[in-house]
């Protein structure tokens, strides 16, 4: 428990460190009950400071009070925009070209800052965002142990199953994947430790900073940071010979081919997709094909029914609920 509190504290500190002094001083006066469940800080030029915590959103007054009235909110001005950008980019906007193209920046601790503003085009392609005016600071919280409940279902006769995690946005999909990676890498009572490869296209799973994972993803985990998923999976299979491949949010046609390829290369694939149940996901072209061909042998469906990360159900390839695998040492 102590460990968890420390973790929470440090992720708040990381967030505070990148905020301009003026925003920081307001944020620190917020009640700690709010700070503990803070999910997003939304900053828009000339608009009041907005926060999202628990299941609700509110504005924050200059005195650090929560209000529903936008007029009372503390206004984020252009000067603050410049300061925040400086802080986030370490005074080096040129180093963030790729990030500005994708529309978000990952900072120390794996937190993600979404940005919007005026898009600059070059030959019809997005070259970057100039005049950034909106920021969405998403606080990444590492919840160790969330995979504990699903681990017994992921094995069949000691073999790790190909798994698809299905969940609407903000239901703890990435957190769950990360913890599965960690548990597989460390080993648990259901399996010995295995080599894990993570293709982390959006730097969310491992939260890499200069290639080093900022989150605990286990000792036997190799991370290919910021790499497109389809290419990344093939690269990892060839170069790192993983036992399990973990990827977040597959959806493009080439991702499907890569998953197919990986499964037949004897690697267990654990990935996630947006959706609310298996039937819905099966209607999407690429995922539908994978599902009909029986690529996945486990489906984990998440929801927010009983808070973030509620496990709605775990099914096998013919969509029947799965029975728990007994710990390896007892069979």
């Amino acid at each position: 428990m102590m460990d968890k509190v420390d973790k929470e504290g440090s992720s708040m500190q990381e967030i505070m460190a990148i905020l301009p002094a003026s925003v920081r001083s307001i944020m620190t006066t917020l009640p700690s009950a709010v700070l503990e469940v803070l999910e997003e800080i939304r900053l828009r030029q000339n608009q009041p400071l907005e926060i999202r915590y628990g299941q609700q959103t509110s504005y924050v007054t200059p005195a650090g009070q929560i209000t529903a009235n936008a007029r009372q909110g503390w206004i984020f001005t252009q000067e603050h925009v410049v300061k925040l950008l400086n802080q986030v980019s370490q005074h080096s906007l040129y180093a963030l070209e790729e990030e500005l193209k994708r529309g978000y920046i990952t900072v120390v601790g794996g937190h993600r800052i979404g940005i919007a503003g005026k898009v600059v085009l070059e030959r019809g392609e997005v070259k970057g965002i100039r005049d950034v005016t909106s920021f969405n600071v998403r606080i990444a919280r590492e919840k160790k142990g969330v995979a504990q409940k699903v681990m017994p279902y992921l094995f069949e006769k000691g073999n790790l199953q190909n798994t698809l995690v299905i969940s609407p946005p903000m239901c703890g999909k990435t957190t769950l994947l990360r913890d599965i990676a960690r548990q597989v890498s460390y080993g648990s009572e259901w399996s010995s430790s295995r080599k894990v490869g993570i293709v982390d296209e959006r730097s969310e799973l491992a939260g890499c900073l200069q290639g080093v994972p900022q989150r605990d993803v286990g000792p036997r985990t190799d991370v290919l940071d910021a790499c497109p998923k389809a290419i990344g999976m093939m690269m990892l299979i060839r170069s790192m010979s993983p036992d399990a491949l973990i990827v977040d949010e597959i959806g493009r046609p080439e991702d499907g081919d890569a998953v197919w390829e990986a499964i037949h290369a004897g690697v267990a694939v654990i990935c996630s997709a947006h959706g609310s149940d298996v039937g819905e996901v099966a209607r999407r072209p690429m995922l539908g094909k994978l599902i009909h061909h029986g690529a996945f042998t486990r489906y984990i469906v998440l929801s927010r029914a009983r808070g973030v990360g509620t496990i709605q159900g775990i099914y096998d390839s013919s969509l029947n609920p799965v029975r728990k695998e007994q710990p390896a040492w007892s069979s």
Binding site: A21, N86, S89, Q90, H91, S92, L93, Y94, A95, E97
Partner: protein, 172 residues
Amino acid sequence: MVKLIGALLVLVSASMVGWQISRSYAKRPVQLRALLVALQMLETEIVYGLTPLQRAFVKVGQRVQKEIGNIFLSAAELLEQGGALSAEESLQKAILRHGAQTALRKQERDVLASLSQVLGSSDREDQQKHLRLAVTHLRGLEEEARAEQNKYEKMYKSLGFLGGLLVVILMF
């Protein structure tokens, strides 16, 4: 005897003054060259290495001549402190702090100051443009400094000695 020693002292000190002035003329082109090298290194770090500004400053500062390097090292130090200062403010402060120890004149400091306004705050292409502009600017100043060196370096050296000699002759 005392007179002779006095005369000698006058002569030596006058030549020293002349030598001192001539040396500042000799130093300026050397330091300008170092500054040019520094900016070119900075360009490489920024455009090809995508190194964050603070680390780029440290790298450059350690590799060029000490007087010039100190400006960059000190700017890097200021940038690191809590991040309250912008890149512009830190570089300007560093110039104020270490500029006096260099032979750089106001023109060169102005070039650096105007460069500091854009450093780090735009994309790579733009950074490169501004850095190149500053380099061309400094090249011109370097040539000017060399011409001045040719003209005045020897002159001040002999002027010092001859001036001292004149005083000695007048004293006798």
